[in-house]
């Protein structure tokens, strides 16, 4: 379309395109973009080292927050499990008769908030301790059993959250036979605080790394633009619009993100595999089964989309600033 000459002969290409149906024009539009995208992939090979470095930086920068995310996710599921299994240890007052303890046990069993009550008899506990500790003779020297009777109370399913369990503990402590009860919620609270902290750090770190990625991509694209200065000038001289000139650079940024995302997947998997080895050695000591959950498919796609988004954003910033500054003179 001519701006200055209204009746300038409409070009062949354009007139042909006008005859195309909207559907076909839509398809052609995308075919054209894909062609350009693939062409810009070829551009990457012109400067393979710089391109690869940028992709690697992009991928590795995303690896750290992604791995942290996976770890936090796993810790959350573990802590949820542990929280579910929370038990209340109820210590019985010294001098309470075994019959009274049994009555208490039975009363508690009828309580709807309680799933199970196990009585650890103090005599049995002392016997076990005597056998296992090797302090047998020293214990013989004691005239009375220093251990209290203990009831292990498992709250019913709905009363296992730390808040409900705390209320149950308070309720249990109202019984006259009970000396005190112990619900180890403190470590749970601490774990939650730690998880919260980890999430905050993760957020901050991710933000900083994303910023760094955008700046690095933007800088690489800036160098690409400067190395093609002459070509850009010539294109401007023969009437190329800014968006036409920008497009290949935007595609390049997109490819950086595309490949960087895949690098992030691989590096994250590798890192998690390595961490899992270490975690397994620890959990084996505690005889507990533990499987590190990796990235789900949708999480992988999010990482990928993120990488591509960052690549595009970086190139967009570079293109905005630098293509405008290159003018023929």
């Amino acid at each position: 379309m001519s701006l200055l000459f209204r009746n300038r002969e409409i070009e062949k290409g354009a007139s042909q395109r006008l005859k195309l149906s909207p559907a076909r024009r839509f398809v052609m539009y995308w075919v054209h973009h894909v062609q350009q995208g693939v062409a810009s992939l070829g551009e990457l090979t012109r400067n393979p080292f710089a391109s690869f470095m940028t992709m690697a930086v992009l991928g590795l920068s995303l690896t750290l927050p992604t791995t942290l995310y996976v770890l936090v996710k796993n810790t959350q599921s573990i802590s949820a499990e542990w929280q579910q299994a929370s038990q209340i240890t109820v210590f019985i007052r010294d001098g309470v008769k075994p019959a009274a303890v049994q009555t208490l046990q039975q009363t508690l069993r009828l309580n709807k908030k309680i799933a199970a009550v196990e009585w650890v008899d103090k005599a049995a506990a002392l016997q076990e301790f005597r056998e296992k500790s090797g302090f047998g003779e020293a214990l013989d020297a004691l005239d009375s059993n220093p251990l209290p009777d203990v009831l292990l109370v498992t709250p019913a399913q709905q009363f296992r959250s730390s808040e409900a369990a705390k209320r149950l503990l308070f309720e249990l402590e109202q019984n006259p036979e009970v000396a005190y009860g112990k619900l180890d919620v403190q470590w749970l609270t601490r774990l939650h605080a730690l998880l919260g902290l980890a999430q905050d750090i993760l957020g901050g770190l991710a933000l900083l790394l994303c910023l760094a990625v955008v700046l690095i991509v933007s800088n690489t694209i800036r160098l690409n633009i400067l190395s093609k200065k002459d070509e850009i000038i010539v294109m401007k001289l023969v009437g190329a619009t800014a968006s036409f000139i920008q497009r290949p650079f935007l595609y390049t940024g997109m490819w950086y993100g595309f490949v960087g995302g895949v690098i992030a997947w691989c590096a994250t998997s590798l890192l998690l595999w390595w961490i899992e080895g270490a975690v397994t050695r620890v959990t084996d000591l505690y005889q507990s089964q533990f499987n590190l959950a990796g990235l789900t498919l949708s999480e992988m796609l999010v990482v990928w989309a993120f990488a591509i988004g960052l690549g595009l954003l970086g190139s967009f910033l570079a293109v905005r600033r630098h293509i405008k500054m290159i003018e023929p003179s």
Binding site: F5, G13, K236, V238, G239
Partner: protein
């Protein structure tokens, strides 16, 4: 076609490259722009192609005031103007075909759609056999002709040339001028800036003469004037 009204151009730094220039090039006219080095020839052409903007006065193309053209419209203005440079500004890492096809690709042609026109343009400048070559494999005169093919491939109504014969010997220079004449004969308005007075003297075309930014002569040939 091209009209200058009281156009002055002062570069940042205070140098006045053009002052109060008035002239008009009619549709289908061919004219030369001459003057010593630094007289303002390139500046004048840059005001037409919107590489520079006038400080005062206005430039019109086909009656359209170029002051009204926004930055985003500049590319579309340039598509109506074929430009030729002394250093021809070819892309050295692209083939002759790709260089000449560039303006068409920019207008949205596919390579297949562009092929016929590129071949036609290269045929006109006599370089059809060099279509697969790279500019570095060509002589100076041939490179300049590739530049001309690129300028005319979209059939613009206006051709501007800045010292197109600057690096060429008289024989090659004349060949280039003959090419411009051929385009002019099919209705293209042509404005050629050159300080090669010997070349102009052999031709009978309107010659605009600049001296220190002022249009001092708008006649046939500088020598013919008192």
């Amino acid at each position: 076609m091209i009209q200058f009204e009281q156009v002055s151009k002062t570069y940042p730094g205070g140098h006045q490259a053009l002052s109060q220039v008035n002239f008009q090039v009619k549709p289908g006219e061919m004219a030369f722009l001459t003057g010593h080095s630094g007289a303002g020839k390139s500046t004048l052409l840059k005001l037409i192609s919107l590489m520079e903007r006038p400080t005062t006065g206005r430039v019109l193309i086909n009656g359209h005031d170029l002051r009204k053209m926004s930055a985003s419209q500049v590319p579309y203005v340039r598509r109506d103007i074929g430009m030729i440079f002394q250093d021809h500004r070819l892309l050295m890492d692209k083939t002759v075909f790709d260089n000449v096809a560039l303006p068409l690709i920019i207008e949205g042609y596919s390579v297949q759609e562009a092929r016929k026109r590129v071949h036609a343009a290269l045929d006109k400048v006599g370089l059809l056999d060099k279509v697969r070559h790279y500019p570095t494999m060509l002589s100076g005169g041939e490179q300049q002709r590739v530049g001309i093919a690129r300028a005319v491939v979209t059939k613009p109504p206006i051709l501007l040339a800045d010292e197109p014969t600057g690096n060429l010997d008289p024989k090659l220079s004349m060949e280039i001028i003959r090419l411009f004449e051929a385009f002019n004969q099919v209705g293209v308005s042509v404005l050629i800036a050159t300080h090669d007075l010997g070349l102009i003297a052999r031709l009978r075309y309107r010659t605009l003469t600049l001296r220190e930014g002022r249009l001092i002569d708008d006649g046939l040939q500088p020598e013919a004037q008192p």
